[in-house]
Subunit: 367 residues, 2 copies
């Protein structure tokens, strides 16, 4: 049925206004063999452009986007060149994030306590009222931060938002991280907590979620549970998951400079990869879950935005889940950069994203 | 709960590597009041960039993308300045498309016949074998082409792909178009055909679908059926719908020059808007269905790609459907430009997109 590629199609079929088509004659543009060969896999040179602040987003997101030009002018911070430099980078970042966390906690009051589960530090977040349907349910949370940042209490912001919007108990895993604990420490901690959490409860009543590195760890954990033949969660919610540490997604390039939250792969992310994965194969599914086998995965909801540098990391996982026959949903927010549904926690978009995720868990988790 | 916008959040929370954050001190960058005011809604100036051919797409899509640099160098065709010029533009475009259609028909053999339904020209596409579950079902198709192109037989390519992949009967509406028949002729034709098709069959067994302008017309038709209190279809599949002729979507800018299929809003699309909408309000929901009320819409599946100029037109409709409580699915293909699942009809992505849409119709249409 699909005997050969049709390369000349896109230029004229239905949309003949395409660049390079000589419409006056209806002919294809002339192209010398040399020119054709030289551009066989040639990159696209995109000229400088001006991108206005979008109009169809919340005032909160508009104002965040409007700050971009000033931030860009000031340039990106230097990436550390030593382990000691990374420790300072991490400490400074987490310190700044703690100030935001205080504001988040004031806005979304919940009860937080800390426990050690199977030797792993965790935080339990309980909303003021647990919804009746969530009485026997719990969510396990993995924070983001490139497998470097947001250790300790700094990482519980998303757990609070989920507990608050979903009226459900959340256990946030303070998994070990580099420089001291590279892969597979984080994954080992995730699995250790999982094993303990499902003791004495139905695993189908338990969901996993997280954003960015936490979304990647959510997916990697399910791959690992499959390998270990352990029970799987009832549903998962990987938010803009860092699913491909090899950095092959197209939006790493198309949304470079447009994403307002993270720099391109060659900056901070490359540093994270080196510290987390070391010499491991970056296409190991436990490091880059995109490369795993998604058959048998639980129902999944994925969240991203049109400006997200990791939109490709998200939509490629969504396609793989669908190809594997998994119930998988995708939500994409207008003009949203990486993880902004979490960072702009007091915006309508954030509320909408978490409420949608909460509905998905409610539909698919056991009771 | 959501008392005030938190504007300073995104810079430091969780991802403090953000541009402009002085990590050494953990402080916010200094900003003079004047600078802050001047950048309040300032556009982002994105520098020139180089975007490689993506690796995680089919060879067919890779080769289409690899042709972009050459096409770009040759520049876009001039947009006509007169009605007579538009007639030539349309004729040349449709003539070129006809050659592609011949190839499509060879690859996907189906039976095609033409009928006039309620005074509207239509084509009925019947696959060689109708699936047993589709015996009492039919899909109504609206072709794309900016409400200008693909009139007559040229427009049936998508109907053939849907009939073939879905093993279902499709009626493709050859609705009237400018220059001679501007809005609301197309919508009137869509409604006229709908009224006739549902005579003697259960409307819930009938689906609507289309791509680009055809996706917009799919949505506008449902808005109109609601207004007329006519029965609604059982499910719809608007593919990268042109839902906002006012052109406010963020990806009109972020994917400008990156989308390989259509130029920016100011070129061909602006011409389409002027010829189709004339002096009508561009935010009229029957012209730009994004601005309508989506409550009560039938289950909907939307398709787009990460490079799609109309990704914002697609994902904003998806959010509005979800906000209205409608069962709505979104599929986004890696590195795909506007409507390429249709244009690259002999690619794995095309097959995957149409098979997913077919499954959606099978799940939601009556039998």
């Amino acid at each position: 049925m699909h005997r050969r590629p049709v390369l000349s199609v896109m230029v004229t079929f239905i949309f003949p206004m395409l660049l390079g088509v000589t419409l006056a004659t209806g002919q294809q543009p002339a192209q010398t063999p040399a020119a054709a060969a030289s551009t066989e896999m040639a990159p696209l040179r995109v000229p400088a452009r001006i991108i206005p602040v979008p109009t169809d987003v919340s005032p909160e997101l508009q104002k965040a986007i409007a700050r971009l030009p000033t931030l860009r002018e000031q340039g990106a911070p230097a990436i550390p060149k030593s382990i000691e430099g990374w420790r300072k980078f991490i400490a400074a970042g987490d310190n700044a994030s703690l100030q935001q966390l205080a504001q988040l906690r004031k806005t979304f009051p919940v009860n937080v306590s800390s426990q050690v589960i199977s030797g792993v530090k965790t935080y339990t977040v309980v909303p003021e009222q647990i919804a009746p349907e969530n009485g026997s349910r719990v969510l396990v949370h993995f924070h983001g931060g490139g497998y470097l940042l947001a250790g300790g209490e700094v990482g519980i912001g998303e757990a609070i938002l989920m507990a608050y919007h979903g009226r459900i108990k959340v256990i946030s895993v303070d998994y070990r991280m580099p420089p001291d604990y590279p892969f597979p420490a984080a994954l080992d901690d995730a699995v250790a907590v999982w094993k303990e959490v499902i003791k004495g409860c139905n695993p189908k009543n338990v969901g996993l979620f997280g954003t960015s590195a936490g979304g990647g760890l959510t997916l990697a954990t399910v791959h690992k549970l499959k390998e270990l033949k352990l029970p799987l969660p009832g549903a998962i919610a990987p938010g803009t998951p860092w699913s491909d540490l090899a950095g092959t997604g197209d939006t790493y390039f198309t949304n470079d400079y447009i994403d307002g939250v993270i720099g391109n792969y060659e900056g901070f992310l490359r540093g994270c990869v080196e510290l987390y994965a070391g010499k491991h194969d970056l296409k190991d599914p436990f490091i880059s879950p995109l490369y795993g086998d998604f058959r048998g995965f639980p129902p999944s909801i994925l969240t991203t935005g049109t400006r997200d540098l990791l939109q490709s990391d998200t939509v490629r996982v969504h396609r793989k889940l669908r190809q594997a026959g998994v119930e998988a949903r995708l939500q994409v927010f207008e003009a949203m950069s990486h993880a902004e549904y979490l960072l702009l926690f007091d915006s309508p978009e954030s509320r909408e994203a978490f409420e949608e995720i909460a509905r998905f868990f409610d539909t698919h988790l056991g009771k």
